[in-house]
């Protein structure tokens, strides 16, 4: 590609394009023509009732599930059906509804293992905590407000801190896109804004595109650039938070007003 062609690319670059995904487990339709496009720097919220296929969509995009038809393109490359670890290495991070952490390790070790994974630095003669870029992870702990807990075992942390750490571990890979499955579930309503503020700061800091599944409409209206309403395994409605959250159908079926 020539320099001119590079420049001619549209400015909001397309990061993810999920195209017409289908997946059914026996009689259950988990994805029924699900499509979504995300552009660089966007924060997209996925909302919808339980069983609408929100987590399935995330699982397909991150390689845990393979769709029966349809395609997932990440930065133009087809990643449909790739293994989770190949997709992770390719630049897509993920956090989980239930934090997936190394419980018997310290907070900082969780991040340092992620760092070693990112840098492929597995030298058996160097201690993990002597990694030349370890400072970067301590800095990350400061950004997410867990610096004081660095030496604590994850097993002892309260849920809110685990949620943050789970996302931080995903961010430690420096993904260009991150999927977050309910970043504020299981967290008290008092803490949710604190957590989201910290999170958004971390996302801005690393210029990461984010797609998050969320049930809390306060969080959605405050932090999402765009909202996609999921029902029956596909998008029913898509748009800015103001438009989507004021839609009568959405209010009735999703928010339950």
């Amino acid at each position: 590609m020539t320099q001119a062609a590079l420049k001619a690319e549209p400015v909001p670059q397309e990061v993810l394009r999920a195209d017409n995904l289908h997946l059914r487990f026996g009689g259950v339709v988990a994805a029924d023509g699900a499509s979504l496009t995300a552009h660089a720097g966007e924060r997209i919220a996925i909302i919808g009732p339980n069983g609408a296929g929100k987590t399935t969509f995330v699982n397909i995009c991150t390689g845990y599930l393979t769709p029966q038809s349809g395609k997932v393109l990440f930065e133009g490359r087809d990643i449909t059906g790739h293994k989770p670890r190949d997709i992770a290495r390719g630049g897509i991070g993920r956090s989980f509804q239930l934090p997936q952490l190394f419980l018997e390790n310290t907070v900082i070790d969780n991040l340092l293992i992620a760092l070693a994974a990112r840098e492929s630095s597995w030298q058996p003669w160097r201690r993990l905590d002597r990694h030349p870029k370890a400072d970067e992870m301590y800095h990350m702990l400061e950004v997410i407000g867990l610096a004081d807990a660095a030496e604590r075992l994850v097993r002892e942390l309260p849920e809110g801190m685990r949620k943050l750490l789970d996302i931080a571990v995903a961010l430690a890979l420096k993904p260009r896109l991150i999927f977050m499955d309910e970043p504020t579930s299981g967290v008290s309503s008092r803490e949710k804004f604190t957590i989201m503020d910290t999170l958004v700061r971390a996302l801005d800091h690393s210029a990461t595109t984010a797609i998050f599944v969320e049930h809390d409409m306060d969080v959605v209206s405050r932090y999402a650039d765009r909202v996609a309403v999921w029902t029956g395994g596909r998008i029913a409605l898509e748009g800015t938070p103001e438009v989507v959250l004021n839609d009568p159908d959405v209010q009735k079926n999703v928010i339950g007003v």
Partner: protein
């Protein structure tokens, strides 16, 4: 870590004094250190939460490698025989590992057991090659170029083994603190996260598996040289179980545990067998029950466990007051 080093140094000094204080015990301790190497191999896998009930296979692989090489009359020195024992064991584990590391927990334990029992019966049946149930004799090789009589050999072999064990223990301790070693703990607690970090947990376990087999092979090599004899029992499942037993006795928390455990085990076995010939296994059983009840992290962790708790308390209190994000778990942690 510093505390582990202190324990290690203390144990090293105590062991190093044995030939002078209790010369009659030095062969016993040499054997215990050799077995300790195999136990260390089991400990490495325990870090990943995996138990192998078949490490007798790699122990025997190392021992028979030494026996074959000595019988071939190549005039190889101990300094060459032992690395070769480790390499052969690691090579077998590397090949079998492609199969074994795809399994976890009970399946991993049983597959190892099954393969070691195949090896045991082969060693027993292939009479012309392995000497069958009688095993093979291992003539005393040279040590660093010197041919020695029995007394000198036992003395110097003791220190050679102690030096070997010290170097190996330090290397394994470093490995366990490295990203690869911490990765083993990660395998134990959350493989899902590891995969989503782009890491193949199987490959990580494969490396640990080959390393742990090398350790077992090294141990088998030492035992073959010191006892001058190898037998199919080296690969028998009771032997493999003994390694696991000792690993739990000594504790998997640090590398010293394997050797402390194996020395204690050897002492109990020798003295209990002398004083209560028909009850010594019962005594071993009771000692393991006591360990599991009172020091679940093993002998070397008796005090260390308390220290860890105390360390965890301080930052917990700090963050409750400063961070604002508090929860039940914090209070539970501080209690």
């Amino acid at each position: 870590m510093r505390f582990d080093l202190l324990i290690g140094a203390l144990v090293f000094c105590a062991v190093a004094a044995v030939p002078f204080l209790m010369p009659w015990a030095s062969v016993m301790i040499t054997l215990a250190l050799g077995v300790g190497l195999a136990v260390l191999g089991v400990v490495v896998l325990l870090r990943a939460g995996q138990i192998s009930f078949g490490h007798g296979l790699y122990y025997a692989a190392g021992a028979y490698t030494v026996a074959f090489l000595v019988q071939a009359r190549l005039g190889l020195d101990i300094l060459l025989l032992l690395p070769l024992a480790a390499i052969v064991a690691a090579a077998i584990a590397f090949v079998f590992g492609f199969f074994a590391v795809r399994y976890r927990d009970i399946f991993f334990a049983m597959i190892n057991l099954a393969v070691s029992m195949v090896a045991f019966s082969l060693l027993e049946k292939l009479y012309h090659i392995t000497g069958g149930g009688d095993g093979l004799n291992v003539a005393r090789p040279t040590l660093a170029g010197f041919r020695m009589g029995r007394v000198d050999f036992e003395f110097w072999m003791f220190y050679a083994t102690l030096a070997l064990v010290t170097v190996v223990a330090l290397m394994v301790a470093r490995y366990l603190a490295s990203p690869l070693g911490k990765g083993l703990e990660a395998i134990k607690s959350n493989e899902t996260r590891l995969e989503y970090l782009g890491v193949s947990s199987n490959r990580m376990l494969h490396i640990a598996y080959a390393l742990s087999a090398a350790l077992a092979g090294l141990g088998g090599g030492v035992i073959a040289i010191v006892t001058g004899h190898v037998a199919p029992e080296f690969a028998y499942w009771v032997r493999s179980g003994e390694f696991v037993f000792i690993a739990i006795l000594g504790g998997a928390g640090n590398v010293v545990g394997a050797f402390v455990g194996s020395i204690v085990y050897e002492i109990i076995r020798n003295y209990a067998a002398a004083f209560a010939a028909s009850y010594w296994q019962t005594m071993l059983g009771f000692s393991l029950i006591a360990i599991i009840m009172f020091a679940p992290d093993g002998l070397t962790q008796l005090r260390f466990g308390k220290k860890n708790e105390a360390r965890a308390k301080e930052p917990a209190k700090k963050s409750t007051s400063e961070n604002g994000i508090t929860g039940k778990a914090v209070q539970e942690g501080t209690r």
